[in-house]
């Protein structure tokens, strides 16, 4: 199987290099290397969006967790609709803001809009978490998969460095456009292979484990039920959750953390650098909510049941190899390609955003286009070097750090909502929320717990206390602090700048066609959907179809009641995203902005230092006497 797997991975790599080379050759301006001339085609957004979403969920991990926890974990697949919703709410407005202000990254937009350097630094922190530990975790998994599939003929270290080198070559030759092509092509491959393996296992394997016995989880874990709305336990590491970890609150809050993908610096950069007309809406509705979520909900349990029956992912691959080596190679390529998408996208976008936000803004301001391209290439080399080194030598650290990534990214939601929709959210509110929310995230995740307990004393709670994900803890406190502080500072000195952008939004968007009642209905329906699909209402799915309340009897629907519930709410979820994105015009760009606005004059704080107001007042008080 080794030569076959290496050949297929080689062919995919050659295709990537080919795409990178032709896009590198066609680049008109050297500066386009960093941002593709802000003209990525809609199909890239459509396919790459779905692929990145699947890759961010980490496909091998998803299948393994599904095999461990059964259908209670399948709720997370429905959480991809949260990604689509979050993208529908923010992506078009961020794109419009970027075009109105001629800024190219979310960090620059938030920094200028709120007039805050702290927000820029926070965005860079999130960017580095995505670019290095998260990408390293995915690369490490890809290396382990290749090593296991080849019975260590290709050691994990060699696989990691080879994959990293090929992806680096593609990125350094093709620039952002080449990376986007590669990611979109591999996303299409992953989606096609997901559907293919769903059908193939269904037709080929003698008796599907899912149909025969369901997902064979360990004893004590409910395979086809959600174990409760919430568990009043101290969290992982302190108490063993009865029946499994994935209560409705765990599912809902994890799904919220997935929204962090949509507002991550890289995903926002992909949107900003595109030139779509209807690409956003199509990608969000049909690809992310429709195809990606649907494939996971329907095909995930089938594959997970086979993995659980085989004992491990490697054992399942060996079982496929017994059918035909090429089948096992295809399955390995599916998993490795999803890892490659994450590595190429987050490392590539990280290098581009870092060049724009850090290098050309603070370190070497005023670089010409050629120097910018060179700086981007050097950044790419550093990022890929770091990713490969961490993946090879510190995979555990990468996993611990990457557990923070999505939750911390999601803490930017109030800031992004402020930028896109709510003009009265103030800088003080956003910063207060970020501080409180991030602290809650850190102290409900392994990183903070390990750090605190090593340095000081044992905390009374573990990871995800009360079976609520760290993103949930963070968001609850973040929103509370943000709204409270914004209430008192909504008319602060920066209000004029915020109004300026929101007035420009209203000029660029035609008057709303629907009535106020229709808008209320849309958002009420969305909240109702979230309550029943992911929130506490999902507990009804355990028995809704197998023990109907009004029939007073037990029926055998042929599949677990919870799966029917999940599929039903997946359909409804797609309908809601479609309604918001297309009918609500949230993701349809009707016309391009007609004029430009300047949020703040271009000031470089390193060279033209601005004294912080409280320091200025203090100095004034001291020197004035």
């Amino acid at each position: 199987m080794t030569p076959l797997l290496v050949s297929v991975l080689g062919i995919v790599s050659v295709l990537g290099l080919y795409l990178a080379t032709i896009s590198g050759r066609h680049t008109q301006q050297p500066g386009d290397f960093v941002d593709a001339g802000l003209a990525l085609p809609p199909w890239v957004i459509i396919f790459a969006g779905a692929g990145i979403t699947l890759a961010s969920l980490s496909l091998p991990n998803h299948l393994l967790l599904l095999a461990t926890f059964g259908l209670q974990y399948n709720q997370i697949a429905g959480g991809l609709i949260c990604v689509a919703l979050c993208a529908a709410v923010t992506q078009k407005r961020v794109w419009l803001a970027a075009r109105l202000t001629s800024l190219r990254t979310l960090g620059d937009l938030l920094g200028d809009y709120f007039g805050s350097t702290t927000l820029r630094i926070y965005m860079l922190l999130v960017l580095f978490l995505f670019s290095i530990p998260f990408a390293a975790m995915c690369l490490s998994q890809a290396g382990a998969l290749v090593s296991a599939a080849t019975a260590n003929d290709v050691p994990a270290g060699l696989a990691i460095w080879s994959i990293a080198f090929v992806l680096f070559l593609c990125s350094v030759i093709g620039g952002w456009r080449g990376i986007a092509y590669l990611v979109a092509a591999q996303s299409l491959l992953v989606l096609a292979l997901m559907i293919f393996f769903g059908a193939f296992t269904g037709f080929t394997l003698d008796k599907l484990a899912f149909a025969a016995n369901g997902i064979g989880t360990a004893s004590g874990v409910l395979p086809d039920r959600i174990p409760g709305v919430i568990q009043f336990g101290a969290g992982i590491g302190k108490e063993l959750p009865a029946g499994g970890l994935w209560t409705t609150f765990a599912g809902l809050t994890f799904a919220l953390s997935l929204g962090g993908i949509a507002i991550s610096p890289g995903f926002s950069f992909l949107g900003v650098t595109s030139a779509p007309r209807r690409g956003f809406a199509f990608g969000q509705v049909w690809m992310i909510a429709g195809l990606a979520a649907g494939a996971l909900i329907l095909i995930g349990p089938v594959l997970a049941a086979e993995i659980a029956a085989s004992g491990s992912l490697t054992a399942f691959t060996i079982r496929l190899a017994a059918l035909d080596p090429m089948v096992a190679v295809g399955f390995t390529v599916l998993l490795v390609a999803s890892g490659q998408i994450a590595v190429a996208f987050f490392a590539g976008s990280g290098a581009s955003v870092c060049t724009i936000e850090l290098t050309s803004r603070y370190i070497i301001p005023g670089m010409d286009q050629r120097s910018t391209r060179f700086a981007a290439r050097v950044t790419l080399a550093l990022v890929y070097g770091a990713v490969a080194a961490v993946a090879s030598y510190a995979p555990l650290s990468a996993t611990i750090f990457s557990s923070l990534t999505l939750s911390l990214s999601m803490q930017l939601l109030p800031a992004v909502l402020g930028l896109c929709w709510v003009r009265w959210i103030s800088r003080s509110g956003v910063l207060a929320g970020l501080i409180v929310g991030s602290l809650c995230v850190v102290f409900t995740e392994s990183f903070g717990l390990v750090l605190f307990e090593r340095l000081f004393v044992d905390l009374p709670w573990g990871r995800w206390p009360l079976s609520v994900h760290s993103a949930g803890w963070g968001l609850a406190t973040n929103f509370t602090a943000c709204l409270l502080v914004s209430l008192f500072t909504r008319s602060d000195a920066e209000r004029g700048r915020r109004d300026c952008l929101h007035d420009a939004f209203e000029e660029s968007t035609p008057a709303r066609k629907g009535s106020q009642a229709a808008t209320t209905a849309k958002w009420s329906l969305t909240l109702l959907w979230a309550f029943f699909a992911l929130g506490p209402g999902a507990i009804l799915g355990n028995t809704f179809f197998s023990e109907p309340i009004f029939a007073g009897t037990v029926v055998a629907p042929g599949m677990p009641s919870l799966l029917i519930w999940q599929v039903m709410f997946w359909f409804v979820g797609v309908l809601i995203v479609w309604w918001l994105a297309y009918q609500g015009r949230l993701s349809v760009i009707d016309e391009r902005p007609r004029h430009k606005i300047v949020l703040v004059p271009d000031v470089n704080p390193l060279f033209e230092p601005v004294t912080t107001p409280w320091i200025a007042r203090f100095l004034d008080r001291v020197t004035g006497r």
Binding site: L19, I22, L189, L193, F196, D324
Partner: protein
């Protein structure tokens, strides 16, 4: 049909490559498994995967308002021709191969040809589609006929 600018041509080409990558790997798996344990249904499914790639290519053409480029046509014909020759040769030299695979492969090749003809007829009309392959007319000595463009009725 307006000619594509440089970036659009590149976008279209990359999309075509992506579509064929997504179709080719499942097709390769199905062929490999079909020639082994799988048999006829899997070989037919492999041809279906290739046809899905072709349909995706046609959709890309429609989206970008283009047709197949001469290079794509050439590559497609060469691959189809080589596969056909390989199939005939293998069927002639290997009796077990012919016994197991002749029928599904024949159906597959004929179906592919039929789909291409169907596409040509729906895209260009029967007359123009035929004229594209009208070799005899090319050998005519009549200068007027050879200079006449396809679809020119005067």
């Amino acid at each position: 049909m307006t000619p594509l600018d440089k970036n659009e041509a590149l976008d279209r080409h990359a999309l075509v490559m992506a579509c064929w990558l997504a179709a080719a790997l499942p097709a390769a798996i199905l062929f490999q498994y079909g020639f082994g344990q799988g048999g006829t249904p899997y070989l037919l499914a492999a041809f279906a995967a290739i046809l899905a790639g072709f349909v995706a290519h046609v959709i890309v053409n429609v989206v970008y308002g283009t047709g197949f480029s001469p290079r794509e046509l050439g590559l497609g014909l060469v691959i189809y021709g080589l596969a056909l020759v390989l199939f005939v040769v293998l069927s002639l030299v290997s009796a077990p191969f012919a016994a197991h695979n002749f029928l599904p492969l024949s159906i597959g090749f004929i179906a592919m040809g039929a789909v291409v003809v169907f596409y040509l007829i729906t895209r260009f009309g029967a007359r123009q589609a035929f004229e594209a392959f009208d070799v005899i007319r090319d050998f005519r000595s009549d200068d007027r006929d050879s200079k006449r463009s396809p679809g020119d009725h005067t």
